[in-house]
């Protein structure tokens, strides 16, 4: 059987790399770096064979001519980010294999669990995938199953749907007809705003950020789902819909209290969240 061995959620802010490599970082940045390193170690110690990675796409691979809500990538190779993202943000590349047979099995099983994923045999992953993967698995040696979510182009599925799809993903993984240790990595962010009236250099809504991380820390997934409405997310900052990938992760974690969770507020950047659930690490899953 396949077992989930570690569940981790971190941000994909394109500033992260530059921010963490500053020569004299402020305390919040130093702590972010330490906590992201802790997340890397957690995933490494769980010894996963494969990573299921839940992330969005910033209208790069998928656009309003053809917009999937939830999509599993099953091309043999996942590579990114896009050239214009590298030009704009100086991002590092990431390239790894896709576990194609497992992706196909997930697609085949999914309808029985209540979700009809779209799929793609040809795609690039954008910074939403490459940045968290760069932190959590810099070796680029693990195959992944990329799951794309639409958090960019309305209508966007509700928080309830993200949560339920997370629960279904967990059940689908555990129903796979293979032996594998599976790490789950979600890429999202807290309150952020781009191209809107709030200043994008800071958390767009620290109150939202603190409240949500507190609820996640208490395992109050249902409360998160209730509060993370379209209006609340939009008014927390017009790019805050990316938080929904963490809501999906709460579903994967089965509303459990996380093993580690936290939030840092660098002075001139969006908030830096992290969350992890250690699962079955002593089990004989492999």
């Amino acid at each position: 059987v396949a077992n989930v061995v570690e569940i981790i959620g971190i941000t994909h802010s394109p500033n992260m790399g530059r921010m963490l490599s500053e020569p004299n970082p402020e305390s919040a940045i130093r702590k972010s770096a330490e906590d992201y390193e802790r997340m890397r170690v957690k995933m490494a110690e769980a010894k996963p064979d494969v990573l299921v990675v839940i992330a969005s796409d910033h209208l790069n691979q998928f656009f309003m001519d053809n917009m999937p809500a939830f999509l599993i990538g099953k091309a043999p190779l996942a590579e990114g980010p896009f050239p214009h993202e590298i030009r704009q943000h100086g991002l590092a590349s990431y390239r790894t294999r896709v576990e194609v047979e497992m992706a196909k099995d997930m697609l085949r099983l999914a309808p029985d669990f209540g979700v009809d994923f779209s799929f793609s045999d040809e795609f690039r992953i954008d910074h939403a995938f490459t940045i968290p993967l760069g932190f959590i698995r810099p070796e680029m040696d693990l195959p992944i199953i990329p799951i794309f979510t639409n958090v960019m182009a309305p209508p966007i599925p509700t928080a309830k749907r993200f949560y339920d799809v997370g629960r279904m993903i967990r059940s689908i993984i555990e129903a796979l007809p293979i032996n594998a240790r599976v790490g789950v990595l979600a890429s999202g962010h807290m309150a952020t705003e781009l191209g809107g009236p709030k200043n994008s250099r800071y958390s767009a809504d620290p109150e939202f950020d603190r409240r949500m991380i507190q609820l996640i820390g208490e395992g109050e997934a249902e409360e998160v789902v209730q509060e993370a409405t379209w209006d609340r997310l939009l008014h927390a900052g017009n790019n805050t819909l990316g938080f929904l990938n963490f809501v999906l992760l709460l579903g994967v974690a089965g509303a459990a209290v996380p093993s580690a969770v936290g939030l840092h507020f660098p002075e001139q950047k969006a908030a830096v969240p992290f969350m992890a659930w250690d699962v079955n690490q002593k089990g004989a899953a492999a």
């Binding site: 704009q88 191209g195 809107g196």
Partner: protein, 95 residues
């Protein structure tokens, strides 16, 4: 919906350097056969970012477009933009 056409145009010049060069070379020609509404076409050509925002152009793409087209102090451009759009709140940006 022509809002889609504006988003499509913005995405193209953000992602594709050749398209961006062609647009800079002759903006009117680049937009000639695109189904933009007159208000949208005018706002695009005049770099009227606040009007584009009020029309519900996707804010993520609009942010990228401002980055490409703004000259000089990017912070000042952003600050001016934020002041001008404050009254618009969060317009519907669905297509």
């Amino acid at each position: 919906m022509s809002r889609y056409e504006v988003d499509k145009f913005l995405r193209q010049i953000i992602m594709d350097q050749n398209a961006f060069s062609a647009y800079k070379e002759d903006p009117q020609l680049f937009l000639k056969d695109r189904a933009l509404a007159d208000t949208e076409r005018k706002a695009v050509l005049e770099l009227d970012f606040p009007t584009l925002y009020s029309l519900g152009v996707h804010p993520f793409l609009l942010n990228g477009y401002m980055g490409l087209m703004s000259k000089g102090d990017r912070g000042a451009v952003q600050s001016e933009f934020r002041k001008k759009i404050a009254a618009f709140g969060y317009p519907d940006f669905s297509t």
